[in-house]
Subunit: 226 residues, 6 copies
């Protein structure tokens, strides 16, 4: 089985990180390939970034489709998830959707840890689209975004506040670039912390095993062709 992870941005450093963590999680049980998106911005930080990313993701998915069993979108905002669900004949899983829906199975409410305060509203909009608002405790960014020399400490503090102030019981890493932080946060905070890439790998491989894909019944019907 081969799972292809699309990193919607073009950062080779982040792509490497994702590859390393994903392959470590896969542990050789199935093949995982990770691709940066040609022509995409270096980091997805706006709707424009996301739009530009999707434009590169579509041909990438089309090119890889034949030899791929399922696709994963490795950005927590799940850019392009609707169009990729529509065009691919293979299952498509977003790390945001996978991790947040899984989070609802592990506790009463979840918080998403995101990279900047200005990204909070956009994350909330995604959560609204997935109809998960009632299960969301908060979306939280580190308090001081400018002094993040110690990334782990910053997110640890944000997570602690989510648990203490917002009523979160489960934390979700809100960026593929945070991959790897889940285990250390989990150890310090004593609650489940979800890495979206791992969650998506679980869902994607499961869908392949069950021979399940995206429904063509209506929303993802695609274009009428003759």
């Amino acid at each position: 089985m081969k799972i292809v992870i699309i990193n919607p941005n073009s950062s080779e450093a982040m792509t490497s990180d994702i590859r390393m963590n994903a392959q470590k999680y896969a542990a050789g049980e199935y093949e995982v390939e990770v691709f940066a998106t040609p022509g995409a911005p270096d980091f997805i930080d706006s709707y424009e970034d996301a739009t530009n990313a999707v434009f590169g993701m579509i041909p990438l998915v089309r090119k890889l489709e034949k030899d791929t069993d399922a696709f994963i979108i490795a950005c927590h905002g799940d850019p392009g998830i609707d169009v990729l669900k529509e065009i691919s004949t293979k299952p498509v899983v977003g790390i945001g959707e996978a991790s947040m829906k899984l989070a609802t199975m592990l506790g009463h409410k979840f918080s998403v840890l995101t990279t900047s305060k200005r990204s909070i509203a956009g994350k909330e909009a995604v959560i609204n689209q997935y109809r998960l608002t009632d299960s969301m405790a908060s979306v939280r960014a580190p308090e001081n975004e400018n002094s993040m020399e110690d990334e782990k400490a910053s997110y640890l503090e944000a997570g602690r506040l989510a648990l203490e102030k917002d009523g979160a019981e489960v934390l979700v890493l809100g960026c593929a670039g945070l991959t790897g932080l889940d285990e250390s946060l989990m150890e310090e905070l004593g609650v489940p912390v979800l890495d979206g890439v791992k969650c998506a790998l679980m869902i994607a491989t499961g869908l392949v095993k069950m021979h399940l894909g995206i429904s063509r019944q209506g929303r993802y019907y695609g274009k009428e062709t003759d």
Copy 2:
């Protein structure tokens, strides 16, 4: 004042129809220009079509921005509305958002008349994104899509069913291509029927007069630049 209407598809015929109806509605009180989107598909019938449309819309908006007071997206699914709200310094209004939110002011619940049954779920997804689900009676397509020689009769019947079966009190034309049908349906059915282009012109010109634009506070903050 100059309002620019972007027709997200590339059909010159539909662009002409929209131009004619929009300029008739504007009645010379302000300038209205209507542009088809270069490189867009001929009709927006899928998420892929919408994605391709947005790719052409962004440079078009950027190019026209300087001499434009507000932009309108003239496709009822409002493709690209988030990214255009973000990148443009001018107000951006979608005909779907404008017409459906206005519809809630005129009656208890509204129904959207759409062009095909397979588009219903996608429209419902948009209505969910706008948090309008509780005000929606239904999304309805003509029963027999294959024999639509008489377009007006088909939508008249769909509208009648929305009123009688679904509890609709207001109807919304769910496609810019239906422009012009509002008055005849209204006359026959005796309820408000909303044409999204007119609704969006009303909102866009009003925003300009009030010196209001899209908030840069969070969701449409845009990319951090140095």
Copy 3:
């Protein structure tokens, strides 16, 4: 075109303020008349005030109906909006409904600035009736209601807290008496601030141009007569 604004209270001072601002906004493009409500209380501060206001508004609307193209209710709680929608054959627009629904088009969530802490729950109840709760960040009153010599500073502070603490991206002036504050708050805070009277004028004139009115299909059917 003639728009009639009903100020539900009987304060001639507030009526004058509204008239001045409304006519300034109309800029001579259409006629605007503003009436205080005979027999209404001086300020609408309770359900009883609202009830008494409505009693004066009904005959006023009936008397003016023949020569009016659309009515506006100029109190942010929209007293009597259901009954006026029902009895008038002309469009009826509430400044609360118009401004809050417009606010949802300009940002992720809005906050309403209201005149007193004890009015917050009532405003929330109105927001619930309009099914806008999921788009509301908060309803906020100035912290210190007793020392409001500097009205503008008080609302500026309330607005700032709404943006910083509650996640608001758009502000709505929650009282017709605050008319005029929108531009100065907007300038200081850098986010859209909506004046309900202007918003309602936009909607009302637009409905007239589109020949749209309130649906008689069910909720606003009115009394069965023989």
Copy 4:
């Protein structure tokens, strides 16, 4: 203990019916007085009727307040419930609110049986205000409103359809004028059928015994007085 039931309309026939049924239910355990509303319309069939009713109800409540322990509003649309909750120092219970909230304790979803199809949307609006939409199966009127010689048979049929088609498990009589139908419908249909007047008597007497009234904390604070 004395409970005063306000019939918001002026029909002495309906007032008598309500009095008979209420006193039968009270069975001498407490005093029940029933008043028609002076100056109100004969039947509450529109927002205008309701507005006119409330205008007569306020002085009636004020006049009777001193010697009354709790008030009941005996019209299923609960006209004036907010203003009466605000002005009276005694508990105020609406038959709509009491019966529909009680219905949610007896089964999964309830349907309201109403007197005419054109009243359905208005009832749904009330249900939305009470935040009961998710517990509502439907609002149903008799199919053929013109041939209601046999009122019981008409509502029996409407109730049966609510159970079979809409998923209702509990029925609520949606008009004080239907008082007395509950027991026969219950016998025929085998599900709980709620008469709002009885439900409100239960709540009102209970509140009196518990020394509970309406909160003055915010929404029903009333007018600031010196």
Copy 5:
């Protein structure tokens, strides 16, 4: 009329307290018996406690059913409410359901005062099941659970914070063991404070008088038997 109150735990002290308060409230108008649950834990503090309680409650209800007119579950989490509604042919009322639904009739939003911070999420889950989330201001526990020598002062402070910080207008005692605190909190805080046992007695006796019980139409149909 005989109402049986089941205390789901086995504490004779709490059972006595409930009996004393319930009989005082009943004031001899009807018979009230209160039973501890054999084999149940001493306090219901977890899902496991609740499960164990229900196991003792079912035979108790079956044994007492013949001579009982209605049952009350006297634990604010309403353990076993679905199964008891299903198996008993008599009305079954939970103190949580009764008090929280009654609370919505007395003010805009309610807060529940609960015994410990770790019980908050569980209470919220119950409120979600009853579809009351939109009417809930908060669930609050005393700040310092370890120094509760002065129980009343602790809950008074929690109640005050609910009113001031959370927007509550009505308070609900979130544990049968707090019975008796309602009147003193009400006196100090000036808002309605609901004791679930009294609320449930009101509902239960009312249902008996109205000959109403749980619907057998679907959710509480029970097991198919031959």
Copy 6:
């Protein structure tokens, strides 16, 4: 890795079916053991059945816990899911929760196929508890429950109606006893059909790999012990 599936009923036939299908799905990649619940009813058809099942499940989980990596509850109503999530130190996955949340990733709305009309409301209540109501198209039982010689044809017809009448895009088998029907329904209807046992195996094994369990932060904190 060892996954233990608890069949909440005592039917050895159903337990065998589940074992066969689960082991076939596991394909030797991990160990799967399936246990019927001692003392449970033969089929879970009511809240009482579910209560009795849970009573047997708790000691079974406790007994097996030491040598188990994750537990699955193999009844679509997920009986005991809250208490098992609380008491077990290992992940606990319900087939209802797993399949319905997964279904939301594959299409716009899902329908659950259930075994009898009288079970529909109970399933809807579970869906409400999981806050999935807005993603549910319907819960459907075969039309004619008495002539189910051909089980597959009956569910095929129910599934077809869900797609055509209710707007479902994904189907979920609403009973562990239907295991095996997924592939044939999927082939005939051309949409994803989810078998809860497979979905739960996917989630459970994934949680084990990620070292994730149930949060102890609040809702599943468990009993305070000294």
